[in-house]
Subunit: 135 residues, 2 copies
């Protein structure tokens, strides 16, 4: 049966990863080289698409390609200790926290500046003044 074979466009639709990125992931080694038809088209089966979905979900959570490679090898290792996965997740949460804090402090500083600016037709602007300050 051919019913479980996808070409790259179908795999893209089924997984939510663009064909472009599937090729890219293959090139950088995140995915094994896909098998090919006689004419050179990549083909994917259900399991491949399953792996693509795994990758997409990991990306949606903000894991890097490198981290996803590690997650994939843990996924494939039937004997992994779940503590390893949990540790990776915890480290990633910590990184997310740092980024969130950075963005929040940018936001509060900018909010402070905005509240000082009357924002009308007059040219004097405390936002620009503070940006230009030597500090």
């Amino acid at each position: 049966m051919q019913s479980d074979l996808y070409n790259i466009g179908q795999a893209a639709k089924a997984s939510g990863i663009s064909a472009k990125m599937i090729r890219h992931y293959e090139e950088v080694g995140l995915l094994p080289a896909a098998s090919r038809t006689f004419s050179g088209y990549r083909t994917y089966n259900h399991q491949d698409v399953h792996m693509l979905r795994f990758i997409r979900h990991s990306r949606d959570l903000g894991f890097s390609i490198k981290q996803i490679a590690d997650l994939l090898s843990l996924w494939r290792d039937r004997n992994r200790p779940s503590s390893k996965v949990k540790q990776m997740a915890l480290e990633h949460i910590e990184m997310l926290n740092q980024k969130i804090q950075e963005l929040i402090s940018m936001k509060s500083e900018l909010t402070r500046l905005v509240s000082c600016c009357h924002g009308d037709e007059r040219p004097d602007c405390p936002i620009l003044d503070e940006l230009a300050q030597d500090k």
Copy 2:
């Protein structure tokens, strides 16, 4: 007097932007081409350093190069309405908010997964299971 002239290294120290990035900003047109000594060294005066500080403060608040170019032109325009600056700042705050929300939802989803995982020597792991789910 030469006391108000900086070469690129001194301008970098005084502004907090690396010499590398100063050259880069010049190349992409964020900065006007610096004047040069006879031997080709870039030179900067107080006003240039002032502008560099403006750029650094804007970067610290997360503005992109394109946005900083707009801020700079408002800064130079003695007749700008402060409402324009305020609007840019508000839009940027909105973008920061979006990013913050994205990161927070990643974090809470991941936190949920982590709390489901016992994280010991056993291989069964709800985190990997959910990542692999078709959803």
